[in-house]
């Protein structure tokens, strides 16, 4: 890129402050999780190499939490996509109202996660505005009980509300990079707008969709605060289970195993994300 490419030493020195800081503390945290999950470096009690903590994960409580987190992650990721993709398609061409829509929709991006949880809980409350509106419209007779339901609908609602702008931004930027020549050609050859979307735009934006879905999945799969505040009492999410095990039950070893499961799952999805990102970068050229 640059005419004056610096030497190896100089590059190392440049990269070190930012990357070194992140590497040092991140790897320390991950190493600590791993070591404590096999019984080493326990700060309370004895330290000994053991597989007991891992074996103790083989119970229903952990499995339920794992499935719940998986459900929240997948549900949030695709639930958001259901709104984000059509909106991104609509906003693709400059048209009446697209600027207004673009700026209103960005608002939740700047609302902190806990505040988002509070806002949506308010709306969904037993005597909240949604129930009032539904009764007012004559759709239901009695208020619906939507808070702390065992399925986790309110967690999903909060996550969709919070993550919609993320996905929209990602998908919009990918849609922008698709060259319009191909579409114009298809249109000229007589393809209907729906066919163009289905057979050209959708496949070409697939890597972008993948990135958007994976990103929201990772961010919601390991979430603590929102599920703790809005989720069901049982099952709890993996992060909530991990926290309770560590701080309430003083079972740091088990908490570390749950932590490892979350870390490995996240890293796996980051790998998928990185691959999809590379494909998109290749497309832009």
């Amino acid at each position: 890129m640059n005419a004056a490419q610096p030497g190896r030493m100089m590059l190392m020195l440049l990269v070190l402050p930012g990357a070194g800081f992140i590497f040092l503390f991140l790897s320390a945290a991950i190493a600590m999780t791993f070591l404590q999950s096999i019984g080493l470096y326990a700060l309370v009690g004895d330290s000994r190499l053991t597989a007991d903590y891992w074996l103790s994960l083989l119970d229903k409580g952990f499995l339920d939490s794992f499935l719940f987190s998986l459900k929240v992650g997948v549900g949030s990721a695709f639930g958001t996509l259901l709104f984000a993709y059509p909106l991104a398609l609509f906003l693709r061409r400059k048209r009446f109202g697209s600027r207004t829509i673009g700026s209103i929709i960005k608002i939740p991006l700047f609302v902190p996660a806990l505040v988002a949880a509070f806002l949506i809980l308010n709306v969904l409350a037993f005597n909240g505005i949604l129930n009032s509106a539904l009764i007012g419209l004559g759709l239901i007779d009695r208020p619906l009980r939507m808070l702390n339901d065992t399925f986790g609908w309110n967690v999903l609602m909060i996550q969709v509300w919070k993550n919609l702008p993320f996905q929209l931004l990602i998908i919009a930027s990918v849609l922008e990079s698709i060259q319009t020549d191909i579409e114009d050609a298809a249109r000229n050859l007589g393809a209907s707008p729906w066919r163009v979307i289905l057979h050209i735009v959708l496949p070409l934006s697939a890597p972008g969709i993948l990135i958007a879905v994976v990103l929201v999945f990772i961010l919601t799969f390991g979430d603590y605060a929102i599920t703790r505040v809005a989720g069901p009492v049982y099952p709890s999410s993996l992060s909530v289970l991990m926290y309770t095990d560590a701080f309430t039950l003083q079972q740091w070893g088990i908490a570390a195993c749950i932590g490892m499961v979350i870390i490995v799952a996240s890293l796996g999805f980051v790998a998928i994300y990185a691959r999809a990102a590379r494909v998109i970068e290749g497309m832009g050229r």
Partner: protein, 286 residues
């Protein structure tokens, strides 16, 4: 001829107004989707305790600032706001100092391992913060850093510097090499190049990065909760208290607004620096 033009025009105009209708419908739904929850929170923060707001009423019967007074008198909010606003600038400056050289290297040079480096920088943003927070707290425990301000600074920097790094790198990358070559050909020395080319061209990215870093620190919950509380409270941990352990809707509403206003204000001020490419480089790209 004119009749022909008419028949050609008609369906087009019909479709145009359908587009308009759709746009208006989407705008209306989005306003309900975003503005109603925000409006309800403001209303809840203004409920008059002597004149309670009960179900059939869509709006509270009378408004008062009693809830605000209560929160400011009886909660830790003043201390929490102070801590948050001391912490965030320190974290932003530290992030800038650490990120600048690394972002320059990523933005301007090609080298082996650059992609791995980009993934490393992405990790603090996408790794579930509670795991990092809990086991970093174990590491800090051994180093005597838990429940300390320095521990909070390090933890917050770890989680918010990636935004600065990624956005700054994008800004450096966006400088065309031609501009630099032209400046050199015109006799610009190293200092002049930095002062008249690099700094002005990177400045918007720097602002955007700083705003994101600042806001991330302001909104950070998991790490502060594990490493800081009960010694240090920030605005999000106070809000969590009101949402979790002792749920009081009116107080939670007040703290929510206190937490939200600075972010929204900052983003409003910084809006012209927040190009879509920075937003997407912060979240979407590798």
């Amino acid at each position: 001829m004119t009749a022909d033009a008419m028949t050609l025009e008609m369906p087009r105009r019909a479709r145009l107004s359908f587009g308009r209708f759709l746009a208006l419908l989407i705008i209306a739904l989005l306003v309900i989707w975003t503005a109603v929850p925000l409006f309800m929170a403001v209303m809840w923060s203004l409920v008059n305790p002597d004149d309670p707001w009960s179900p059939p009423a869509v709006l509270p019967p009378s408004l008062s600032l009693a809830q605000w007074e209560y929160v400011f008198t009886y909660s830790e909010i003043v201390k929490a706001v102070t801590t948050s606003f001391i912490l965030a600038p320190i974290v932003t400056i530290l992030s800038f100092v650490l990120a600048l050289p690394t972002a320059y290297a990523i933005g301007r040079f090609d080298f082996a391992g650059k992609e791995a480096l980009r993934i490393l920088i992405l990790l603090p943003i996408v790794m579930p913060a509670m795991v990092i927070a809990m086991f970093l707290s174990r590491v800090f425990y051994g180093m005597g850093l838990s429940q300390t301000f320095l521990g909070l600074v390090i933890g917050h920097t770890l989680l918010s510097m990636p935004y600065m790094l990624r956005i700054l790198a994008t800004a450096f990358e966006a400088i065309p090499q031609d501009v630099i070559d032209a400046a050199r050909n015109l006799g610009a020395g190293r200092l002049a190049l930095v002062r008249y080319v690099l700094i002005p061209m990177v400045l918007p990215g720097l602002f955007a990065g700083a705003v994101f870093t600042f806001i991330t620190s302001l909104e950070e919950f998991n790490l502060t909760f594990v490493i800081g509380t009960p010694t240090f409270q920030t605005i999000p941990t106070v809000l969590f208290d009101y949402l979790g352990y002792h749920f009081v809707r009116t107080n939670a509403a007040v703290v929510s607004i206190i937490l939200m206003v600075p972010s929204v204000a900052l983003l409003f001020i910084a809006e012209r620096f927040l190009k879509t490419e920075y937003l997407s480089s912060a979240f979407g790209k590798l």
